[in-house]
Assembly symmetry: D2
Homo-oligomer: 363 residues x 4
């Protein structure tokens, strides 16, 4: 058991607070002999990095990753490879302005974990939420970059499909579009209305929720370990562990409840000597094991709780008060949740690949 | 790591197939000195037991539980108590009609785990789905009965709130109603239309999906262990591990994406010397730790995949074919998922109570 | 975390008390497609079974094992194979004479776990030691039989090499001899003097300690996972978990402390294109990873604590008293520890084979 | 599962190689509200630090520890306390002279893990043994310093009791002596002969083995979790995981095999209203649970494998060769194993305290 680790054969242990000296993770179980550089990890961190548009927090963090262990610069090949030993990654916190938080030192921000951490631990790290801050997700993105390299034939991609009440038009879906706009949306037509909507939300001192979809292509049939190492069980855990996530669904998800049995159960036909499915209501998972189809996951992100509108709350010493959360915050934390969701799916898949290989010998 | 265990300090390991000699579980970590009889466990099993109405499978299983270990009949007090050692529970399979399945021995039933188990293990246990059968959930309900005794001040209750497109009217909610109808619904007015709807579905050789809501009352603030032992993370895993579940949400869930920040973040006020929340969009969990409010979980159950309508599929030897799943099946597997959802929530909470007590010393 | 499970990828969870209705285990993680019958498991249980000579307890337990799950009788091949799902094994307790223990119901037997279980759990299962009884090792032997089938190229054999002060002559070592005498000793010349010694010990109402050696042949280089999944670490844990074991050593063991560096470090030379070692002080393990040599483990078993000689002790209610442990006991519990030690080594090796295959892809 | 973590409720994950940029660990599960400074940890690191006498390696490493997370400088009290979140500790490697190792880049040093790591991972980190170096034990000592603070009523002390064939005289035992000599020996009379012996060993280009004893005082009855979370099982694993350790024993250990039953089983008598034992052959543990007596552990450390005497070996490319290991090495690695053994025992005890408190509610 462990409180800050995720995964089994591929296992990430994260550490660090929003305003401590550094955050990072130890990645344990990575197979040996994989080419790995800090630059490759950095590319994913840069995608999640704050301050890249007016729709994310203005905190300035370079989020530069250092590899402290687990790789070896092989002088003979000139390349750097994993050694099979634990890979420690550290990211320094550069832009910690703890004083930003002095006004809320004794107040619990509604919708935040301030109250519950204090109730549990009796200690209040008021500096930007301490351990409960979404800054921790940088460590997940870094670990996810390593996870991807373990399953090179699998592509994991995420997209924002809804902000507040505004959904994308799925017929516009274009993966290439995702990296071209500040919302990671695959629908180019959504960019302008979403921008307008979020500007309005920010002006109102409010915030917006969102829905993220993450898809894995190339997962062969057979990954997942029933009954309590089910692939969808671990995906649900992975996504629900992300800050501000309140719901997770696979394939048809909640809409499956509305379908008739004959609509929902995906039919099969042989094609080119392989079983193929006519539809994918299952989202690529049946009985907790991958079917070989695309794995399709969606999760809901609540609106950022740090807002300028004054809210009723209480203090650590038990007095009623009001709170206004100034400082630097994402008006829609769902946007930066896209690379985090990708990373978590990659981590689950890498873990299950290794577990599957271990138990069955499949390569 | 383990494939068939769930939980950490309170840990259940289940075993058994639909048509093997028996199924059961080992419950490890139960504190000592708790009064426990087989009859108490049986009461919960009887609630889940098949064949109690025309809306569940007609397989006749008494689901009688035997305790093989972990309790001690103290001659002095006359009572039977847990000893702190593992509690093994066994339920014999009585009504195994394996021959029912000979027609589908080589065919993969669409929507079932037949294809994926075969892809993973290379072995086909065609007898009622083998390990992937929902019969395994009897072991969960038995373990859940023990979990409840560890957290006597917590009440865990479940209810069916939607069948197919038909939702309950939440203003009718009455917990007392739940045990008076075959649907575990808290809305008495839903019983008649749901009965009519399901009769129609059965006649059409089809099946229906459903949504279950499970609520825990009495959980104090502080349970849950960020970041990867979050209470909601473990609840999501628990619910997603139940057969046929495709989505899980906490509190406002997916609807949180639609809310503005100031609507979603539950405000706080002191009352009788305690912090109280004005609303519960959080579903009783913030930052992965319980707030002290009701914990509210919903999950979506897909329509039963075993249906009489003929469907296209393939065989284990790679030929196209059609399949009709005769035999005894639940037309809406979501109904019997209610006691299973309750059990899983109780198991997660018992586990987190023990973990919390261990780390912080809280009683 | 779990209190009654051992192993990771190959994981055994045991349950049961000395005088409860049954004991057994759930074996999780066994690869699919392995031929497995109850008879194969029974053969190992018979080796450990009590009452086979006057040197072991006279309790009459057939120790008949039943497989409740995890195998499938494939009608097409006629054979029974593992399915990749958990294998539950149950052994009924037949010869429970709880009344034997009424005289000691409130007394703590010196050298036994009576006092510590009561101190921990506040419950006293006085019937033959309850969970602390060596009867539990039957479940280990059963699980060990399955472990062996996962690593068919590895041979695991155990032998008794010392009883009380009487050591074998290692130049007499003959593995074939082990199954021909009641002591599992490889030295035929030891049988007569050991018999005489143990008869004397029994007549004196005393008991004797012993040393067991277990050897695994055929383990390839590379198994083991530094730093905290070291092969020798897990072996040490496995052996120390056996009832009455007080010491464990690998290779030269404690004697290594006496050697000079150049004596201890095993030299290497190429032979037939493979690196070979000139000696095996390392006992087949360097840096926690197998070298490809024989793995050599020894463990010390203390003398049985249940003896006829009266001993000073206290009662559960805090009074001084004397105790005489009548009933049926092994005069040298080290004898029956031989098949248990074998089983535990097989379990560790099967687990590490699967872990190694998972992380590195080695077959 | 995880390869580089140790413990359950109190869990340490270490990382780092001998000649990488840094090593360290993440300590997870530490209770909140404990006063903790880097200086307190440093004090233990300084004890283990190399270069403190001519009998340890001359590598110059300040081993300065930095705390990256998990503590909070509470401005109100001025003190720094743990927050209940993971504590990351980092120690930079300062004196890495990788070029020292170029001569052995392709040669496997006999007695070292060079061969087995290469066999397992296919990668050779020749710089001072890479991950297999005893430098990693600095991370253990740091984690052990935190463990001690969780169990303030327990004192854990270690001592060197044998170097090569030279044992201490146990009647001289004086704990105060341990910190006054370079051997951590409690027998002042051993210092001179051991110095002379080790000087001779060094001159001969050889090395010496040793035996360490670690003792914990103040552990109450009841810690430990049978059957596979036994206190002695976890202690055996902890000690065997230390570099160069080949044997572990508890209490009478291997000598217990020589005792008669009535000698070995420690008798009990009430004293001041508490059960007390007349002797401690059990070493403070019965049935895997603490008795309340001193916990006594001994482990054997093989002689350092890095020696100046030329030895036969092979290369990574399969050729016979000879090797001389120059560079900076401990002539008796057992000396610096003393603080490491203490740390590991403290870690096991802190873990078991938290587990015991979780399962039973004991404070």
């Amino acid at each position: 058991m462990s409180y800050n680790s995720f995964g089994h054969m591929f296992r990430m242990t994260t550490f660090g607070e929003s305003h401590g000296p550094a955050l990072g993770c130890v990645v344990d179980g990575c197979p040996p002999g994989i080419q790995l550089t800090a630059a490759e990890i950095q590319a994913y961190l840069d995608k999640r990095k704050p301050g890249q548009s007016r729709f994310t927090t203005q905190r300035r963090e370079p989020d530069e990753v250092k590899i402290l262990s687990g790789v070896f610069e092989d002088e003979r090949t000139g390349g750097q490879v994993t050694t099979g030993t634990p890979i420690a990654l550290v990211i320094e916190n550069v832009d910690q302005r703890s004083k930003d938080y002095s006004a809320i030192r004794d107040k619990f921000r509604p919708g935040h974990a301030d109250f519950t951490y204090f109730a549990k631990y009796g200690v209040r790290d008021y500096r930007g939420g301490g351990r409960s801050s979404a800054r921790e997700t940088a460590a997940r993105v870094a670990a996810g970059a390593i996870a991807r390299k373990i399953i090179p034939n699998v592509t994991v991609r995420g997209a924002l499909i809804q902000i507040g009440p505004h959904k994308i038009d799925r017929t516009h879906w274009n993966w290439d579009e995702v990296d071209r706009n500040p919302f990671f949306t695959p629908d180019a037509a959504a960019v302008q209305p979403w921008s307008a909507y979020l500007d309005e939300v920010r002006k109102a001192g409010s915030s917006a929720g969102a829905i993220v979809e993450v898809v894995a292509t190339g997962v062969p049939p057979g990954w997942g370990a029933p009954l309590y190492g089910k692939l969808d069980q671990d995906i649900a855990a992975a996504m629900m562990s992300i800050n501000a996530v309140k719901g997770v669904e696979i394939g048809a998800g909640f809409a499956a409840a509305l379908l008739a049995g004959e609509e929902n159960a995906d039919e099969m036909r042989m094609r080119h000597g392989k079983a193929e499915f006519s539809t994918n209501h299952a989202g690529g998972i049946l009985g907790g094991i991958s079917t070989g189809q695309e794995i399709v996951v969606r999760f809901a992100v609540k609106p950022t709780s740090s807002i300028l509108s004054p809210r009723k709350t209480v203090t650590a010493t038990g007095e009623n008060t009001d709170i206004v959360t100034t400082g630097r915050h994402d008006p829609c934390v769902g946007i930066r949740a896209v690379p985090v969701g990708e990373a978590m799916l990659a981590i689950v898949l890498a873990d299950h690949f290794l577990r599957h290989r271990g138990q069955t010998g499949a390569q």
